[in-house]
């Protein structure tokens, strides 16, 4: 179970666990649903701090040895704290939010035969560049572009509504000329069905996926303090592990 891999990785070296747990089901489905062929298609993780979620998925599908997860964010490791080039499967070096959607749009324009799936977060929609990219994707009718938005409603310092309310992302993307879908971002079947539908669209597609920060670990769920952890006590680690194992069973 990938959530256990993620917990172990964070317990060893710290990292952005809250958003990684909220986006994990989305990223896993992108890679394992069989809907995309990554010899041709592309996954652009715009939110580079969600690297741990991408890493455990890439290790699980055999892009690199699982032992490499042990050295996440350590000196000399290709598993950098935020995604960087050099690790098999990482297509975009990120960490400065709001940039990946433009990059994905350029890729999609450069080859309309391939699908480009970009993952952004709800906090990230506060970056103006996102809306520049949204307008661009509409102008060039990039129907091979999918923006998968992890909406866990929290960001580093609190709730997205407190920090900077944006209103309805569904309305906003619709008004920017996108097709928009709304799903439960932990419902694997819904994620797959919606991605399948998005592949057939004649417009760029935004998928507003409602998720839970820290999903699967009770004391982390919906607690913005778990955006990023420096270290996790052994007690909390064992508590979290038990919870995840019980879900697994």
């Amino acid at each position: 179970m990938l959530r256990l891999d993620l917990l172990d990785l964070i317990y060893r070296n710290g990292g952005h666990i809250g958003g990684s747990l909220s986006s994990l089901d989305l990223i896993e489905t992108v890679y394992t649903s069989g809907l995309f062929d990554f010899d041709q298609d592309h996954f652009i993780l715009s939110a580079g701090h969600l690297a741990p979620a991408l890493y455990v998925v890439l290790a699980a599908i055999g892009r690199f040895p699982r032992e490499w997860l042990n050295n996440y964010s350590q000196f000399g490791s290709p598993l950098q704290g935020h995604t960087a080039l050099g690790l098999p499967g990482v297509e975009y070096a990120a960490g400065s939010l709001g940039q990946g959607l433009s990059f994905a749009a350029g890729l999609a324009l450069g080859n309309r035969k391939m699908k480009v799936i970009c993952l952004t977060t709800d906090g990230e929609q506060q970056e103006g560049q996102i809306w520049e990219a949204a307008a661009f994707a509409n102008k060039y009718r990039l129907n091979n572009l999918i923006n998968l938005i992890d909406v866990n409603s929290l960001q580093i310092d609190g709730s997205t509504d407190e920090i900077m309310p944006l209103g309805s992302l569904i309305d906003k993307y619709s008004q920017f000329g996108w097709a928009v879908e709304e799903i439960d971002g932990h419902d694997l079947k819904a994620i797959k069905t919606t991605l399948k539908k998005a592949k057939q669209s004649n417009q760029p597609v935004g998928i507003v996926a409602h998720t839970i920060l820290g999903k699967g670990i009770s004391f982390m769920e919906n607690n913005f303090k778990y955006h990023d952890v420096k270290s996790l006590s052994q007690d909390l680690y064992e508590k979290a592990r038990k919870e995840l194992e019980s879900i697994d069973a």
């Binding site: 960087a84 080039l85 297509e91 975009y92 070096a93 990120a94 960490g95 400065s96 709001g98 940039q99 990946g100 959607l101 433009s102 990059f103 994905a104 749009a105 350029g106 890729l107 999609a108 324009l109 450069g110 080859n111 103006g128 560049q129 520049e132 990219a133 307008a135 661009f136 060039y140």
Partner: protein
């Protein structure tokens, strides 16, 4: 080699537009990403002839840099074209991450650099572009001397696997260069023994008033032709670095470090803008006011 003639001024921007049109005819992979300045950068014909390869992003420089990087990742050769005060000024973070960190060989054209933008005033006299670009890993930085060098530089630089910044100026300027352009090489425009004068762009033309000076056209700012510069300084023991740019972060600093590292004792002067913004005026008035006239020394 002969001195530039004043009545034969040409536009670097026009030379760029013509050159890129020719290259696009040969190379079907060449794209232009524009930010609503195609007329100012002489790209109208390109847009007419190659509408599918002319990507108009509107007034959105951050997105444009990201789109350019994505196109490059898809295997295209991409020119990202605007004024220097917008790109790379507005979109530096996108150039840093999406272009440089991701190793996408986008060619950034920044026009209207320096005080030569004249009456447009401070906002459009980009004096910090070389500093912003030369600090970035992977980035190459070029500043052609004149329209001729634009014609010889663009076809060389567009084949480079690195991202690059190319600095152009607004007005028509004298035309002098005839030597082929090589990345990392500086051409000696005039041989001399008394003093070395090194710079980039049209500001360098005033050096021709000094018959005994060795004049080096440093159009390849990064990589820098260390050998040619050091060889000249070892000979003359006097150097003036001339640039229409802020003193901070410019070529002068790069050369000062070079000379210090080489342990050469010499007389060093740096004519550049000292921690100030520009203002409206004609180039002559502005060069006078900001102390960029060699005659002053």
């Amino acid at each position: 080699m002969k001195k530039p003639e004043k009545n034969l001024n040409q536009s670097m921007r026009k030379a760029f537009g013509e050159t890129i049109l020719k290259l696009a005819t040969i190379n079907k992979n060449l794209y232009v990403v524009s930010m609503d300045l195609k007329s100012s950068l002489s790209l109208e014909e390109f847009a007419d002839v190659f509408p599918d390869r002319f990507i108009e992003c509107g007034l959105a420089e951050a997105n444009a840099a990201g789109v350019a990087a994505g196109l490059a990742k898809a295997g295209k050769i991409v020119f990202l074209c605007s004024f220097a005060c917008f790109s790379p000024a507005i979109n530096w973070a996108q150039i840093r991450q999406s272009i440089c960190e991701n190793n996408c060989p986008v060619k950034i054209i920044g026009s209207h650099a320096g005080l030569l933008s004249g009456n447009l005033g401070a906002s459009h006299q980009m004096l910090e572009d070389v500093a912003l670009m030369r600090v970035l890993p992977h980035m190459e930085v070029f500043a052609p001397l004149d329209a001729n060098e634009v014609r010889s530089l663009i076809p060389v630089v567009y084949q480079s696997p690195s991202p690059a910044y190319i600095r152009l100026v607004r007005p028509e300027t004298p035309v002098y260069s005839s030597q082929p352009f090589t990345i990392g090489k500086s051409n000696v425009l005039q041989m001399g023994n008394q003093i070395t004068i090194v710079g980039y762009g049209p500001i360098l033309f005033q050096a021709f008033n000094f018959k005994e000076a060795e004049i080096i056209n440093c159009s390849s700012l990064k990589p820098l032709d260390e050998e040619t510069i050091l060889k000249s300084v070892r000979k003359t023991k006097k150097i003036i670095v001339l640039e229409d740019h802020q003193q901070n972060g410019g070529l002068g600093e790069a050369i000062a470090i070079l000379i210090l590292k080489a342990g050469i004792k010499c007389n060093f002067r740096h004519l550049a803008v000292h921690d100030r913004f520009g203002q409206s005026g004609n180039p002559e008035e502005l060069y006078n006011f900001y102390g960029l006239h060699l005659d002053r020394l």
